[in-house]
């Protein structure tokens, strides 16, 4: 794949992973985890793994975010760390 895209997406992957684990609001953490999954999907589409890419887009960025948001709304939204 084009190495500039590779580099940019990988750097943003690390940034979004750290942010989604450091932010105190759990709803924001869930949404940034969705951004992380979508960046991973872009990376796999660039690495010629299109089947993995659209499975990740549907399952990772879609269903996982819905599960996380549903859990956050049924429990508490604040996190201590």
């Amino acid at each position: 794949m084009i190495w500039q895209f590779d580099l940019i997406i990988l750097v943003f992957l690390v940034i979004t992973a750290i942010i989604s684990l450091q932010v105190k609001d759990l709803l924001a953490a869930s949404m940034i985890y969705g951004v992380y999954s979508f960046l991973m999907c872009l990376l796999w589409a660039g690495m010629a793994a299109v089947d993995v890419a659209f499975t990740e887009a549907a399952v990772g960025a879609g269903v996982s975010s819905v599960f996380l948001i549903a859990t956050v709304f049924r429990t508490s939204r604040r996190s201590s760390d």
Partner: protein, 171 residues
């Protein structure tokens, strides 16, 4: 310069190690259950990133055959070699040799002698393995979140240390 070359050529693997350690740290050190599960998902996607990075080839395209690669061998029935099937003597169709049937009565399918260059396609084996890993990952995340909701109903919190204190003080 050689050092820089070694880092830039394997950049996917360096980032894979970093993301995996981020996820492992979150699973161990975070107190919140949802944060722990997000860390577990990040860990799983890091492993999938490692496997997909193995299957990448330089200058390769997606592992799907082109149309002319599939249908190139369909007009080779006119030449007379029948060495590739030995079932021409016991079928009882009345119309000639152009519609041969096998022992179950279906038309014989000639294997197309297409030469496919494997270097032009990314390795699809790791993709198929990682499809299963993604589905398993989301199901483990769902089970973990269900247990988190159950804990919140039982203890009123999803922080691990508060749950430990409640258990220790006899609720």
């Amino acid at each position: 310069m050689e050092f820089f070359e070694a880092i830039s050529a394997k950049f996917n693997y360096w980032i894979y190690v970093i993301i995996m350690m981020i996820g492992l740290y979150a699973m161990i050190a975070k107190n919140n259950m949802v944060k722990k599960l997000i860390g577990m998902s990040i860990f799983q996607t890091a492993i999938i990133l490692f496997y997909v990075s193995i299957g990448v080839k330089d200058g390769a395209t997606i592992p799907i055959l082109y149309h002319d690669q599939v249908h190139a061998g369909h007009h080779h029935d006119d030449h007379g070699d029948d060495a590739h099937h030995g079932s021409t003597d016991h079928h009882d169709t009345s119309h000639g040799g152009d519609h041969e049937t096998d022992e179950f009565g279906y038309p014989t399918r000639h294997a197309p002698d297409v030469h496919i260059d494997g270097d032009g396609f990314a390795n699809p084996l790791v993709h198929v393995l990682m499809l299963t890993a993604i589905v398993v990952g989301v199901s483990t995340l769902g089970v973990g979140l269900a247990i988190t909701q159950k804990l919140h109903r039982e203890f009123g919190t999803i922080e691990e240390n508060e749950i430990h204190d409640l258990i220790k003080s006899g609720k």
